[in-house]
């Protein structure tokens, strides 16, 4: 009897260890709160040498996303406002502030699974070439949300959730990443009644 108990205990320990180990992997890869890639204001650096970070490589392998190489530039992703509230497809936001000077950049709105908004204008984002920039400071003001806004505006109707991707195509920026003061802030403006609070 003692031998059987010992074997059962061994089996329990091995199975329990495997379960706990696999569960911790799932949490580490899937839970964005455990994504410790560097944050700059509301922006998270997506492609900071994932080859050196097994967790980043595991995440990118899971979602199939190919970022930018070190000489191509950097991708910044935002899933929350500048004051830390998760972006919602029921809310209207304003992206306000400086963008990198003299380098190509693009800004794209998508869902968390990278689905683009579908609208008659085909507007899914803005680029260095088609946004209205304000001087001095090379700043942009781009609105996104379910309600039409004047100026540069990206509709988000049809998306279940919202992510913002800012890609900066410059090896110089990739070598010396930007500070929060050099990137636009994301500010909540209003929410559809009954769907979500602005905070």
């Amino acid at each position: 009897v003692r031998g059987v108990l010992s074997i059962l205990r061994l089996v329990f320990i091995v199975l329990g260890g495997c379960l706990v180990g696999l569960a911790s992997v799932w949490i580490a890869v899937e839970d964005p709160r455990l994504d410790f890639t560097p944050e700059i204001g509301p922006w998270r650096l997506v492609d900071l040498a994932p080859g050196n970070d097994p967790y980043a490589l595991a995440r990118s392998s899971r979602n199939g996303m190919i970022g930018l190489g070190p000489s191509e530039g950097l991708t910044f992703a935002a899933f929350a406002t500048s004051d830390g509230h998760r972006l919602s497809s029921a809310c209207n936001y304003r992206l306000d502030g400086p963008v990198p000077k003299d380098v190509p950049w693009t800004l794209t709105i998508s869902s968390l699974d990278w689905r683009l908004p579908d609208n008659p204008a085909g507007r899914t984002g803005f680029t260095v070439y088609d946004t209205a920039r304000q001087m001095p400071g090379n700043t942009v003001r781009i609105s996104f949300g379910p309600d039409l806004r004047p100026g540069d505006y990206i509709p988000t109707r049809g998306l279940d959730d919202v992510a913002v991707l800012l890609r900066v195509y410059s090896s110089a920026v990739a070598r010396q990443p930007l500070t929060a003061a050099e990137l636009p802030a994301i500010i909540a403006e209003s929410c559809e009644e009954g769907r979500a609070d602005v905070r």
Binding site: A28, G69, S71, E72
Partner: protein, 174 residues
């Protein structure tokens, strides 16, 4: 009581830690959605496919760009990509089968508006000095070409220029 639990719990957490480390390291090789599998399922290997209307089977590529993909497999061996690039911002990246960008270049790195690269397993070919060598650990990955659209009216010209690029397997004696 505490002493009797301590040893099995320590063993359990040691096993959990080992499983965690091994699983994290294995995910890139076995993740079901990684880009390489999707690409091989959708396009021929050893030649450049340019994605004009529909997007390539890789999530989260920049919609402001036109993309071209040239898959590298053990059957094709290393590939050579060459030609004149569009007159806009462009980049070329070599991506391994695990989704890691192993080498890249942009318009800023090119002396002229042309590219001439060889991508594949290091040592399989001896590239001429005039060719940029982008080595992979194995012949499994793809070359990803990106060209920016400065406006939608430029799409046709950018697509035409990318379609004129040549991507083809190189023999082992190149």
């Amino acid at each position: 009581m505490f002493g009797r639990l301590l040893r099995p719990l320590t063993a359990l957490f040691l096993i959990a830690g080992l499983v965690h480390i091994i699983a994290i390291l294995l995910i890139p090789s076995y993740a079901p959605r990684h880009a390489y599998d999707a690409i091989l399922a959708a396009m021929p290997a050893g030649r450049l496919s340019v994605f004009d209307e529909r997007p390539p089977p890789i999530p989260a590529l920049d919609p402001a760009f036109v993309h071209g993909v040239c898959p590298i497999t053990p059957a094709t061996g290393p590939v050579r990509l060459g030609g004149v690039m569009p007159d806009t911002f462009w980049s070329v990246a070599v991506v391994s089968d695990t989704g890691r960008i192993v080498a890249s270049m942009t318009r800023e790195d090119a002396d002229s508006g042309s590219v001439d690269i060889i991508a594949g397993k290091a040592g399989d070919v001896l590239p001429p000095s005039s060719v940029t060598n982008m080595p992979l650990v194995e012949n499994a990955g793809f070359v990803l070409v990106r060209a920016m659209l400065e406006h939608q009216g430029a799409r046709a010209a950018v697509v035409e220029r990318l379609k004129a690029l040549v991507c083809a397997p190189v023999g082992p004696k190149t």
